[in-house]
Amino acid sequence: AAGEREQATKSPPAQAASQPKSAGAADGDYVGTETCLGCHEDQNRRYKNTVMGKVMARPRTALEARGCESCHGPGRAHVEAGGSKETIPIRFGKDSNNSIEEQNATCLACHARGNRLFWKGSPHESRAMACVDCHQVKQEIQRAVSGDVRYSAPLTENKGVKKSQPELCLQCHQMRRAQLQRSSHMPYREGKVTCTSCHNPHGTPNPKQLIQSTTNENCLTCHTERRGPFLWEHPPVMENCANCHEAHGTNNPQLLKVRMPRVCDTCHVASRHPTTPTLLNAIRDFNRGCTNCHSTLHGSNHPSGNKFLR
């Protein structure tokens, strides 16, 4: 019992400096879930049908066995006061008196592993975002009709978020919402690719919270044919797909940041045709632009492909 108590009250690995507010509470401060349900059956009715509710129904650790109090802290003071929000040690949301750090520490007591390993120091953490800004615990996601018809979301088991993707992320990342509407886009609106296909909002050590180490490794997860190695490499392609492409959407073909031939002209200040500002009826201007001819510019494995023509 002493060991269980220790497990239940010690801080989680990710939050050594910011322990849950319940840390240090004595056993006698806990009243048990049954007591909570005496007044909060409505919440329980919704909660017990969530994945978290089902996990907690068969607790694996002493902390989980605390039931409601594993997240909200010991309830004795609350019970003895006859209720009132102010007497709940841990509350969540913007009305809470607890700091963001305290609220998050409660969640991280169980959820510090997996893709939350790098939450500490991540952009969302350092911008004081709370887990409950995106996640909800006591009920599963309810698909809003309007959200449902504007964006298709990929099938997922994760129903503990407030909105489906990409709507959830677009609440703050507004410019991305506009980009997703562009004519040249990946299938975001159609629900085949979504924000977390590439990014981990809980933090990664990689740029832009990408799941993979670099932009290219991220893109090449799906576009594996462009990975190479090739006999003839195009160095800017090899270094960063985002040199030429805007992954979130553009109005140019192939998600190009700048339309051909200018996307190529910007670098190819050499001689002959890249430097001639040909009229729009020139073959390098219309249709596929430069790739009417240089179609293997992502890399060629042809012995005569040094100009990316074959």
Partner: protein
């Protein structure tokens, strides 16, 4: 007090299924030139989806807990069942213990519905054209003109009308599209609450076709440029074709992960293997304009129109082209990650990810043309270029190693203060074997006016008629190493309020690129302020300064970017292949400013979010690796208003304003509105350059390299995105939601000359040459608008039944100067001035010697008809994504059980 017993719980719903019927109708418009009506079902409307009329099951889900008395559950979900964008997700597991999951997903990608092609695929990767068609095209492209014997120039005029009128109508309709079908199996096991292991296997088949442009020679305009204008056109080497690239990939992915976490530390280990199997690794396609491989042809002076004292030649022509499609490859990555608390106030985190990339597909021969020969041991040209033994290796044995490492230290020395130090290292090593090759680009092998026969492949001493050197090439292995170090501090001054400041340095080392080493110095700051619980203001700013130590383009003949030195070199007849002041934007010196601001106001009934973002990259910086003085040709006010110190990208600016708001009029009615305005602006400078010989420099017949032929192009995109809608929820029975959205974008490419257009005297070292078809002119504006209007009505008939009616209207207005006029031939093309073209009613360009030529109107795209007379032997697919209007009516019944 003893609490009251809980009320009996309602039995949970197991799931739901939505099924019904859908009707789709619409039209494609904006292409009156097409002799057929493209199908709206294959238009851009269905680029990644599959809206068709018929029975639909948009959604199904079912969850069964404690199945058969066990503690296990089963979850089933589907979306768009039976359609090309269908998805399925099945999960079996025990909450908190294990999970076995299977996912199946299909994604279509339709590229165009206006394509027609002469080609028929006879076997995977082999495209042929009917021999009779080829014969006709060969005749028309070599021997038929108004006044035979024909020159290339004559045929370039007569050929387009013939192809457009006689060949294109007989082409097959095709819809280039690919379909991705992916199955994924995942098993995850929480061995203990601290220990998880998982394994994932995914297999994806990507099959279909997509447009690809291909050449049979190094230039589609070779017919015009590689032979004397008077040579009668026996056979033209400058040919090309756009064909449907066959895709048949299998992507297999294996991921094995294990994570273990205790109170003060956690570790993760993993392996990811990705294997691409391309079942079609080469594309063999008929040359529409040649029935057989043709060797280099040479003509004695006076024969076949060959004028002058030197012999004339025409390059070799292949009967079929061969291109290497993406080779199969595999990649392996290991992942080690860990996070540890060092005492109470410090946490360290790290990752180490080594990767190995491999590719070893067999090489194709240098050329598919059996009439191009390599020298044997005696020097005689007897070995066909189709011989694989000519290659230095049978395959590449490509090998790359990557290493990504991240080390992070987070410290909380005092309450509400956090310091972070992050070090990141990324190494990209290319260890592929290096060997020497002798690429055969086609006609340059023989197009030498001084030659008596085919040139020798790989001989660096001979030069083709168009000036390019045939030489051996030692391939290089570009690679890079990037190190980033960042320190930052956060002060969480109040709830939802914090201030952040930091510094970051990035060291970038490259091999086989222009800037071998650069350093970028960045400072950044951010502030979040929440003076009230309903109000949040976020601000962030970052300033970065990137400086390469040196910028040395290996093709710039060792010259520095200094106007005085460049003038001296030009006088000496030195023409560097790349201009010494050319700067590639990803390596060049850059000053980058970025600022973001967001305001969020969130009351009970009203929420508002407004934001602004700007990113400003400035490459046009004097000194350092750029020129210290302006490179402008014109001086005085013309230069001082827009001085430039390099060639390439000068500016890259963006400004974005956005807001969204929602208001709940009552618990039953809520409104929302969104608006975003975006402006993107880029500016670049280039110089029209062509090589000159020492004996004939300075913008005479031999070539030109003068700042008087500098030109500027600015690129501007403007987007306005609107959305507004209403949600009604009446009496817990009736749901009505409707919205309208519009994404309106327009893009411009403005170009203009920067020199003195009056300098037209022959022999003038600064002669102005940006005239006629080489003029720097703006392109027509490109506009794209996507309108969407949706209304959904749902009525809760009973607790379990909910009928739904949905109407969706989508309109896509598209006017794109690059594709909107495209046909399988080049529309109705026309030469620069004057000459009548068979099959074309009007000429398009006026003023071949004007720096500002004008165009006559096109009936379906004002001011523009495509067509390049110097590339007359190129047959396209006519790929376009035209405008459409589509109405979708859906009636479904949702049953919950």
């Amino acid at each position: 007090e003893k609490p009251a017993p809980p009320a009996p719980a309602e039995p949970p719903l197991r799931g739901s299924v939505e099924f019904g019927v859908r009707h789709v109708r619409g039209d494609v418009y904006g292409r009156p030139d097409l002799p057929f009506a493209p199908d709206p079902i294959t238009s851009k409307f269905n680029e990644y989806s599959d809206y068709r009329s018929g029975f639909v099951v948009p959604r199904f889900s079912a969850n069964f807990d404690d199945i058969l008395g066990s503690k296990n559950y089963v979850s089933l979900q589907s979306q768009s069942t039976f359609y090309k964008n269908q998805s399925y997700l099945a999960t079996f597991g025990r909450y908190g213990k294990f999970k076995i999951q299977f996912r199946y997903d299909e994604t279509p990608h339709t590229y165009t519905n206006t394509s027609r092609s002469l080609y028929v695929q006879t076997s995977p990767g082999v495209y042929v054209i009917l021999p009779a068609t080829k014969q006709i095209l060969q005749d028309r492209s070599s021997t038929v003109c108004a006044t035979p014997p024909c020159t290339a120039a004559q045929i370039n005029i007569s050929l387009p009308g013939f192809i457009a009128a006689q060949v294109v109508p007989g082409e097959n309709f095709i819809v280039p599209a690919i379909q991705r079908k992916a199955g994924t199996g995942l098993a995850s096991w929480d061995i203990t609450p601290d220990w998880n292991a998982s394994i994932l296997f995914s297999r994806e088949n990507e099959v279909g076709t997509r447009p690809i442009g291909l050449l049979f020679n190094p230039s589609p305009s070779a017919s015009a440029s590689s032979q004397s204008s008077g040579v009668f056109n026996q056979q033209s080497p400058g040919t090309g074709a756009e064909v449907p690239e066959p895709i048949d990939y299998f992507n297999n992915t294996v991921k094995v992960m294990a994570g273990y976490g205790k109170k003060h530390w956690g570790v993760q280990l993993g392996y990811t293997g990705s294997f691409l199997q391309n079942n079609i690794n080469a594309l063999l396609f008929d040359n529409p304009f040649a029935t057989a491989d043709v060797p280099v042809l040479t003509f004695a002076p006076g024969a076949s129109g060959c004028t002058g004292a030197a012999r004339c030649s025409i390059g070799a022509v292949p009967a079929r082209g061969q291109v290497d499609l993406y080779p199969g490859n595999h990649a392996h990555y290991l992942n080690f990650a860990g996070a540890f608390d060092l005492g109470k106030y410090v946490r360290v985190m790290g990752t180490v990810n080594p990767g190995w990339l491999r590719q070893n597909d067999a090489f194709l021969p240098y050329s598919a043309n059996s009439q191009i020969f390599f020298p044997d041991s005696t020097g005689a040209l007897t070995i066909p270029a189709t011989t694989l033994s000519l290659l230095p290796a049978a395959s590449l044995n490509g090998q790359k190693q990557t290493l990504a490492m991240n080390w992070t230290l987070i410290a909380n020395p005092v309450k509400n203060v956090q310091f972070a130090a992050k070090y990141r290292h990324y190494d990209y090593n290319n260890n592929t074997p290096v060997f020497t090759l002798m690429p055969i680009l086609g006609d340059t092998i023989g197009a030498n006016a001084a030659a008596t026969a085919q040139l020798t492949p790989g001989d660096p001493t001979v030069t083709s008629g168009s000036g390019s050197t045939q030489t051996t090439l030692g391939r290089s292995n570009p690679g890079f190493n990037k190190k980033t170090f960042e320190v930052s501090g956060d002060w969480f001054l109040a709830k939802r309020s914090s201030v952040k400041v930091g510094w970051e340095g990035e060291w970038f080392d490259r091999t086989h690129r222009d800037a071998a080493h650069s350093f970028e110095n960045s400072v950044f700051a951010a502030a979040d302020l929440s003076p009230h619980k309903d109000l949040l203001f976020r601000f962030a700013y970052r300033r970065s300064n990137r400086k390469p130590d040196m910028y040395e383009d290996e093709a710039s003949a060792g010259l520095e970017c200094d106007p005085t030195a460049l003038a001296t070199a030009r006088t000496a007849g030195i023409f560097p292949t790349d201009h010494p002041c050319g700067r590639r934007f990803d390596e060049a010196a850059r000053l980058l400013n970025r600022a973001d601001a967001t305001l969020q106001y969130n009351l009970q009934k009203f929420t508002f979010t407004g934001g602004f973002q700007t990113i400003q990259a400035d490459y046009n910086r004097p000194g350092g690796t750029n020129s210290a003085t302006p490179l402008n040709f014109l001086t005085g006010a013309a230069a001082t208003t827009g001085p430039y110190y390099l060639y390439g990208a000068l500016k890259d600016l963006s400004y974005i304003y956005s807001f969204d708001a929602s208001y709940a009029l009552s618990p039953e009615v809520s409104l929302f509105a969104e608006y975003t305005h975006e402006r993107y602006h880029k500016r670049m400078i280039s110089r029209n350059r062509s090589p000159f010989a020492t004996s004939a420099p300075f913008c005479s017949a031999g070539g030109c390299d003068s700042a008087n032929n500098d030109w500027e192009s600015t690129y501007r995109d403007i987007f306005d995105t609107y959305a507004a809608g209403v949600d009604l929820y009446l009496g817990k029975k009736v749901y009505l939601t409707t919205y309208y959205s519009l994404s309106a974008g327009k893009g411009n490419v403005f170009s203009r000359f920067l020199g003195d257009p009056t300098r037209l005297t022959a022999g003038d070292p600064d002669k102005f040459v940006l005239l006629g078809t080489s003029a720097a002119l703006p392109y027509p504006e490109t506009t794209t608008r996507i309108h969407e209007l949706v209304a959904v009505f749902k009525f809760k008939l009973t607790k379990n039944l909910m009928p739904k009616l949905e109407y969706r209207y989508q309109q896509f207005d598209n006017q794109d100067f690059q594709t909107s006029p495209m046909t399988p031939y080049m529309g109705c093309i026309s030469p620069a001035t004057g000459t009548a073209v068979i099959g074309c009613p009007v000429r398009q360009l006026t003023g071949s010697t004007s720096p500002s030529p004008t165009f006559t109107a096109s009936p379906f795209y004002p001011g523009f008809v495509v067509g390049d007379t110097s590339a007359a032997r190129y047959i396209f697919l006519g790929a376009d994504q035209p405008s459409y209007r589509v109405h979708v009516f859906t009636a479904t019944l949702e049953y919950r059980f």
